[in-house]
Every structure is written in structure tokens, then in C-alpha cells.
Amino acid sequence: MYGSSRWWVLAAISFALILFLCPFVLAFTNAIRTPEDYGTWGPLAFPRSFDLTALKTFWNNVDFTQKLINSTIISASTAVIAVLLSLLNAYAFGVGRVKGSKYMLTILLVGIMIPHESLVYPIYYLSKAVGLFDTIWSVIIVFSVLQSAFGTYLLSSVMTAFPREIIEAAEMDGATPWKILWTIVVPMLMPTLAVLATFFFIWTWNEFLLPLVLLVSNFNQTVSVSMGVLNGQFVQTPTTTAAAALLGIAPTLIFFLIFQRTLTRGIAVGAVK
């Protein structure tokens, strides 16, 4: 019933994907070869040497271990705090149905849409005023709140649809709202909360502008910021630049392999709310 056209479509899409992903492959093949190999055969050739000097040079020059630690602490703390904040807010809105929920959710929506640019200078100034400037805590606090705006919005609709009979039954048994939240609502929403936390983790990991402004000292920077401030430092040694790119993208590649399903599905859930 199907003609040969399906094979042409498959071939065309495969070719497009190969072209699309070749930057990743090329970053890899060029990061693990010697500069001489690169110079002689050019960046497209299959590496004839195997050499981790470029990776090591870059790793040590930017103290990549420290960057990984910073990014991990910041992203993990933010994910946990932001999910907690979203959960508490959404519980009050969706289950508690507090007065004015609708207005507050609309205000929150504006909070989601505001470009970070129009908050950046005051946040920079305030963080200096309270002594949190150039500490990872400034970034954790700021992103916990910014991410929770989206989280609250998403979770509120889930909580509004939460079966009321279950809650009413628990209330009859004399359970307090606090107890209902932790023994009934949270366990039932665990999958959603996990997706949300995964997203918060990766979004925070990739954030650039605010961490760039708030974390000025080399020691406190994240992986993402350290990439941005490289700016042609290694132009003379293209293999080191390839190594930099490879190390910059490697952690998120690993997350992607772990969370591929969650991410590709979750983004759609988040988008088409």
C-alpha cells in the first residue's frame, strides 16, 4: 500500500538530523586530538591522534570541578526550594481556594513573562545591600522565586482538579490541612513534582544573565557563566576551544540521556497548559 516515498522521507530526515547534530560530533572529535593533527588534517578529518591535553588544559584553567560543584549546588537547591514554594502556593490556591486566587494567579503570570533584564539591576543592587552579592545563595534565592512563579501556575491547575472527596473524607477524620498536604496531596502529585524539579534543575543550570551579574568572582561562577566569559580566550588553540564547548555541553547531555522522556514530554505539558 505504501510506495517508496516513505524511504525517501526517512532518508531526508536522517540526513537532516546528521547535519543538525554534527556540531556535537565535531566538538568531540576535535577535543580529543592533538593541535598538530588538527593543523595538518583540518577540523573535519577523523582524528588520527588521541590526546586529552586540551580537555585537561581547559578543565584546570577554569577550575571546572569548582564550576560543576557550584552549578550542582545552585540547581539542586533551587529545584527543591522552588518546588516547595510552588507546592505551598498552589495548595492555597487550588485546594484552599483562598479569596483572590484568580487575581493572584494573573499577577503571577506577569511575573513569569517579565524579562529578567528589567529586574537585573535592582537585584544586583539589593544583593549588594544585604551582603549576598557574589555568593551562590543570591542566585539560589532569586531563581527559587522566579521558577516558583511558573511552578505555582502549573500546579494550581493540577490542584484545582484534585478530587475533593478525598480531601473532605480526610477532613472528616480530623486531619489538619498540613497533614492532608503531606500525607495525601504530595504522594499523589509526586510524578508531577518530580517533572517540575527536573525542569527547574536544568533551567537553573542553563541560566545566564542573572548568574553572570551576581557571580563575579571566578570561584563562584557556574558552568554556564564560565562558558560565556571565555570570549576568545583560546582562539589560538582551536582544540582547547572544542574542549571547552564539549565540557560545557557534556553535563546537560548526561541529564538529557537520563531524563530524555521526562523532558521531551514535560515540555509539552508545560507549554500547552
Binding site: 484552599g96 513573562m113 546537560t252 515540555i267
Partner: protein, 302 residues
């Protein structure tokens, strides 16, 4: 209902749960937002007392060629980040859904989806390093041209004012496509497959089916993707900062890069705040327009 659930006013106790979130919202979003707005009416170097300047920053903004140029570039990025990826995304999603998924396997379609999605999860700054390395005069792109015998087309992609904007636009399409694709594919999964099958049995060719069935069905997703990617285009920063910092000759300048420069390089904080306020106004106006159009369309569909 019994008396057990009548324990005082049930709605009131839940206010307690909003306290941490509200405190955060006020200190991290509301106060900075109001501060930024107030700063935009002053001249201020970031230290000392801001001097009230009325609308002077905004007057200056309207006559600032760099700002207008950055808006033209923003329009180019709306094209590269919203319109083109949406168009390619719809087509690719339909191909993956119709051909690969139904005629090969779902797993293969998921594999392609994941592959095209990959750039979306990178730190944009790392993607910037990667592309900066590929686009430099001795980089991959020129090497590829050499290898295919098109060596005469070699360029300094990010160094020439006429080329830099186009080069970054290509990078943005690469970054954004996966997001559009994933949303559209999940939209297609929601659609009743019998509709397509019926049309196919009636002998409708692929392209007419695409226009008359697939695209109209994806309308809600196209709206959402259009809105979110347009907002993203209005505040694009990291790829510009990493690749060109707005140069050469302001050829790739965008409002975010401009305000960053005013805030942290020239210390004209009041002027920077005016730029970000203008940017925010544009974002809100566009959201408003999108939501109005969407509301009208859903009404027509009823």
C-alpha cells in the same frame, strides 16, 4: 454534611501557606520591578542619590539610532526564533507523525524527536562557544566549504557586519527547532487518527491533508509556541553576548545586550532601566495581542 468540616472558616487557614511565596514574590519580583521603573526616570551612576530626570531617558531612547537598530534586529530574531522554527517544526512534526511513526515505528519517531530536541537543553552560552568555534574564519563552516569545493564562499561569518546577523539567525533556528517540534508532536498525538485515515482512504494526497487537517488542528499549539518563542526573541541575550557582544558595528545589537552595556559598562543605570522598561512593555503588548487573537479564534471555533 456533618459538623466535622465546619471547623471555623475553612478558607482562612490556607492563607498561611502563601506567606513564603508572597514574601519571595515581593522581594525578588515586585520590589525590583518597581525600583527599575523608578530608576528609569532618573539619571544615576549606580552610586549616590539618583537625580530625577522626568522623561529624559525615554526621549533619548526614541532618538537613539542604536536602540532602533536593536529593534530591527529583534524583528530579525522573531523571524529566526519564532516564525522559521514554527514553520519547519510543523512540517517536521507532521512528517515524523505521518510517515515515520505510522509507517516505520513510534520508537524511530521518538528517536528523531529527541535528536532534534537536543540543542534545546544546552546552556546557551556553551552552544555559543560551540558555534563561535565553528563560525570563526578557520572554523568548521569554512572547512566544510573548502571540502566541498566551495572554498570561494569562505567568510569571516561573525566579523562582517552584513553577515553576522544572518549567522546568528541560523544558530537561533538550530537552538529553537526542537522546542517547536516537541510541542507540535504532542499536539498531533492528541488528534484523533481516524480523521487522517478517513481522508487518506478518500484519496487525499499528503500536502492537501497537511494544509486542511494537520495545520488547523495544531492551531492551539501554534499559538502557544508563537507566543513563547516571540517572547524569547524579545529578550535574547546569551548567544549575542557570547558570539558578538552586539558587534561588529552594532550589527547584532539587541535591547538586552544594550541594557547590559548601559548597566555594567557605562554605568548609565537610568538609561539602561529605560531600555528594559521599553522591552517589558513590548513583551506585555505582544502577550496581550496573542491572547486576544487566541480568544477570538476559540470563539469562532465554537
Amino acid at each position: 454534611m456533618s459538623g466535622a468540616s465546619s471547623d471555623a472558616q475553612p478558607g482562612r487557614v490556607y492563607w498561611f501557606y502563601l506567606i513564603p511565596g508572597m514574601l519571595g514574590f515581593v522581594t525578588i519580583i515586585l520590589v525590583p520591578f518597581v525600583m527599575n521603573l523608578m530608576i528609569s526616570f532618573t539619571t544615576w551612576k549606580g552610586i549616590g542619590i539618583p537625580k530625577f530626570a522626568g522623561l529624559r531617558n525615554y526621549e533619548r531612547l526614541l532618538t537613539d539610532d542604536t536602540f532602533w537598530h536593536s529593534l530591527v534586529n529583534t524583528a530579525a530574531f522573531v523571524f529566526a526564533m519564532a516564525i522559521i522554527p514554527t514553520a519547519i517544526g510543523v512540517l517536521l512534526a507532521a512528517l515524523l507523525f505521518d510517515y515515520i511513526s505510522s509507517r516505520f515505528s513510534n520508537a524511530l519517531a521518538s528517536f528523531f524527536r529527541a535528536g532534534f530536541y537536543l540543542p534545546q537543553i544546552l546552556p546557551v552560552s556553551a552552544a555559543g562557544i560551540l558555534w563561535g568555534w565553528m563560525l570563526n574564519p578557520f572554523g568548521i563552516v569554512n572547512a566544510m566549504l573548502d571540502a566541498t569545493g566551495l572554498g570561494s564562499l569562505k567568510q569571516n561569518w561573525l566579523g562582517e557586519p552584513q553577515l553576522a546577523l544572518w549567522a546568528i539567525m541560523v544558530v537561533m533556528v538550530w537552538l529553537q527547532l526542537g522546542y517547536c517540534l516537541v510541542v507540535f508532536m504532542s499536539g498531533l498525538a492528541r488528534v484523533d487518527p481516524s480523521l487522517q485515515e478517513a481522508a487518506e482512504l478518500d484519496g487525499a494526497a499528503w500536502l492537501p491533508r497537511f494544509w486542511t487537517i494537520t495545520v488547523p488542528l495544531l492551531k492551539p499549539e501554534i499559538f502557544v509556541v508563537g507566543l513563547t518563542t516571540t517572547i524569547a526573541a524579545l529578550k535574547v541575550f546569551a548567544p549575542i553576548f557570547v558570539l558578538t557582544s552586539g558587534g561588529p558595528d552594532n550589527a547584532t545589537m539587541v535591547p538586552s545586550q544594550m541594557s547590559y552595556h548601559e548597566f555594567f559598562a557605562t554605568n548609565r543605570v537610568g538609561y539602561g532601566a529605560a531600555i528594559t522598561t521599553a522591552q517589558m512593555l513590548m513583551t506585555l503588548v505582544i502577550c496581550f495581542i496573542f491572547i486576544r487573537i487566541q480568544a477570538r479564534h476559540t470563539e469562532n471555533d465554537r
